[in-house]
């Protein structure tokens, strides 16, 4: 799976680096000073690199934990996101990472302890108020968990800090590390969904909808709280039928009591990212969707956006109370 590993000299002897290298004895190892020497170089082609991404082991020096954009949240006033990894195993055509990064290589920041240290500072700053931490913006939280052991490090931290909540955003079925331990109340495993046919067209290399749903059922059976993320909503002529079937499938199977929150928002991207994606995938149907520009962002025109959000909201609120439902109407 991983045939090349770049290793920053500074973390070459970090225990997490050594453990990961041990998993890939046949990979070519290349030392580098800073990951940006590889990751940020121009003239790279994301689409070509996606054929055989390398793993870059690095140290994150600053900005470990960042505030989320104002409109993102699932009920708390203080919201932060963090990325122990950059880039994703999957290849979803709507994903903003393709527009944001020059490289498709996976960067893993091995200095988890610096992340939790900064979380501790933020929790101290906010006293007893709830603070939400979101993982999975710049990577899939669980897809590489067997390699990174991300959850094994972070879940004990949250277990000891009950005023904090961790969201693990994912499409992955790599839930073994979760199932083999006791669930914690302040962690939400949030699965992203699009209807099956849309997922097959756009979410390349990701587990299919049924497998994700099965992962949810397994997690709920073990007592974990789950989240449902219908973001991005993808427009197609028959979206009502397709999303209707998806909701019916999901809500007929899951346990509503262990469903922490549901959020949704239409497909939208910063204009620059979308233009870059169009160049990478000029024949991609998604970029021929009905789209409009608003404040330097591109997404569905207001009438489509609102019609889809209203349709979905009507069904979702039949299944969960409104205080668990977080729609995003903005294009940003």
């Amino acid at each position: 799976m991983i045939s090349t590993i770049y290793i920053e000299e500074e973390i070459a002897t970090h225990p997490r680096t050594l453990a990961i290298l041990e998993r890939f004895p046949d990979a070519t190892k290349i030392s580098c000073e800073r990951y940006g020497e590889i990751f940020n170089r121009k003239s790279q082609n994301f689409r070509l690199q996606k054929k055989q991404p390398a793993l870059i082991l690095a140290r994150k020096h600053k900005g470990h934990i960042l505030p989320t954009p104002k409109q993102y949240g699932i009920g708390a006033e203080h919201n932060y996101y963090f990325s122990h990894m950059l880039n994703c195993l999957y290849d979803c055509r709507y994903c903003f990472l393709q527009g944001m990064f020059q490289s498709a290589h996976y960067v893993l920041f091995v200095n988890y302890e610096d992340f939790t240290e900064e979380m501790t500072s933020l929790l101290n700053k906010h006293g007893d108020e709830p603070v939400h931490f979101f993982s999975g913006y710049d990577c899939d939280s669980l897809a590489l968990d067997p390699v990174t052991n991300f959850t094994s490090k972070f879940l004990p931290f949250f277990e000891n800090n009950p005023q904090a909540l961790l969201e693990l955003r994912t499409k992955s079925t790599q839930i073994r590390n979760l199932l083999k331990r006791e669930p914690i109340k302040n962690c939400v495993i949030a699965f992203s969904f699009t209807p099956d046919k849309i997922a097959k067209s756009l979410e390349h290399k990701a587990p299919d909808v049924n497998k994700r749903l099965q992962a949810i059922l397994d997690l709920q059976k073990s007592g974990w709280q789950i989240g449902l993320r219908f973001d991005p909503l993808i427009y197609t002529k028959d979206y009502a039928r397709e999303y209707g079937e998806l909701f019916n499938d999901i809500f007929s199977k899951i346990n509503p009591d262990l469903t922490h929150s549901i959020s949704l928002g239409g497909f939208r991207l910063p204009k620059d990212y979308l233009r870059k994606l169009e160049k990478l995938y000029p024949d991609e149907k998604l970029f021929s969707s009905p789209l409009a520009e608003e404040n330097n962002n591109i997404g569905y025109p207001l009438e489509i956006r609102e019609a889809m959000l209203d349709f979905c909201a009507n069904i979702i609120t039949q299944h969960v109370p409104e205080n668990k439902f977080f729609p995003c109407h903005e294009m940003i």
Binding site: L48, K237, D283, S289
Partner: protein, 272 residues
């Protein structure tokens, strides 16, 4: 197209014969050779970084290159302990002089192992556990400005090591070493071809683009819009005859408006 750069005539000669390249006499600053179908060209740079950087720039100016082309620096190199005659694709280039580094992106099944390389200003027999050459950093530094990173590579064949120093390497030895690795070079080129094709396909103009810009005037910004709309048309209205639809338009602006309206009025289904 594939653009090959060699420092020495003895490195180039086996390649010139293998790919049946003929010299392009009209270019006299550096010797440039090309295959009959123009798919492979080779420039003889001479030894060292200045020669190499100049040769890559000159080649680019003389031979029309594009983002889908592959760029290869092929030659011999020293190494402390890799056996003579072994080939390595370079995975890290360090310029000894200013310590700049580059990381060639090997996103295909490599026909041989890869190794790090240091580009020196002067020959050295103080071998290390990395390849030594005198051209790769200059080649890569210029080629990366002209091409796509995943298509730019250095293939080095070990000609000297701690058991046989460079002072003992002759031109005939180099010719033999390169000749033995021609099959490996063919394999490398075969591995790069699908990547080149992918870049060519995503950077090519959409169908009907030339027809439109020859028939109507478009500003630069309108050309981008045209390109986007033509691609959308081919996706959303694949069975509709576009040229007949816009035949009566009298300006570039009205073509864009016609295309926009027609596309907007069509149904959109994201999957087959």
């Amino acid at each position: 197209m594939i653009h090959i750069f060699c420092a020495l005539p003895c490195e180039a000669q086996p390649l010139i014969q293998h790919f049946k390249l003929a010299e392009l006499k009209q270019f006299d600053l550096f010797r440039i050779y090309q295959s009959k179908d123009k798919e492979i060209s080779l420039t003889l740079s001479g030894v060292g970084k200045i020669n190499t950087a100049s040769a890559v720039s000159y080649h680019h100016a003389c031979i029309k290159t594009n983002a889908g082309d592959a760029w290869l620096n092929i030659g011999v190199a020293g190494h402390a302990n890799i056996a003579i005659g072994e080939a390595r694709l370079v995975n890290k280039i360090t310029d000894e002089h200013d310590k700049s580094t580059w990381y060639p992106q090997i996103v295909f099944k490599s026909p041989c192992e890869s190794a790090a390389l240091i580009t020196l200003d002067k020959p050295s027999e103080d071998y290390q556990d990395v390849l030594f050459d005198m051209e790769a950093s200059a080649f890569y530094q210029i080629a990366i400005r002209l091409g796509t990173a995943e298509l730019i590579h250095c293939l080095k064949i070990v000609s000297d090591n701690t058991t046989q120093a460079s002072s003992k390497v002759t031109a005939d030895t180099v010719k033999t070493l390169v000749s033995i690795k021609l099959k490996l070079l063919d394999n490398l080129i075969e591995s790069l071809k699908p990547l080149s094709a992918k870049i060519r396909s995503i950077t090519s103009e959409p169908e009907h683009y030339q027809y439109c810009i020859e028939k109507w005037h478009f500003t630069q910004s309108e050309k981008l819009q045209l390109s986007r709309l033509l691609r959308q048309w081919s996706i959303r209205l694949p069975d509709e005859a576009i040229e007949a639809f816009i035949a009566s338009d009298t300006s570039g602006k009205s073509v864009l408006q016609s295309l926009r309206n027609k596309i907007k009025g069509s149904e959109f289904v994201i999957h087959d």
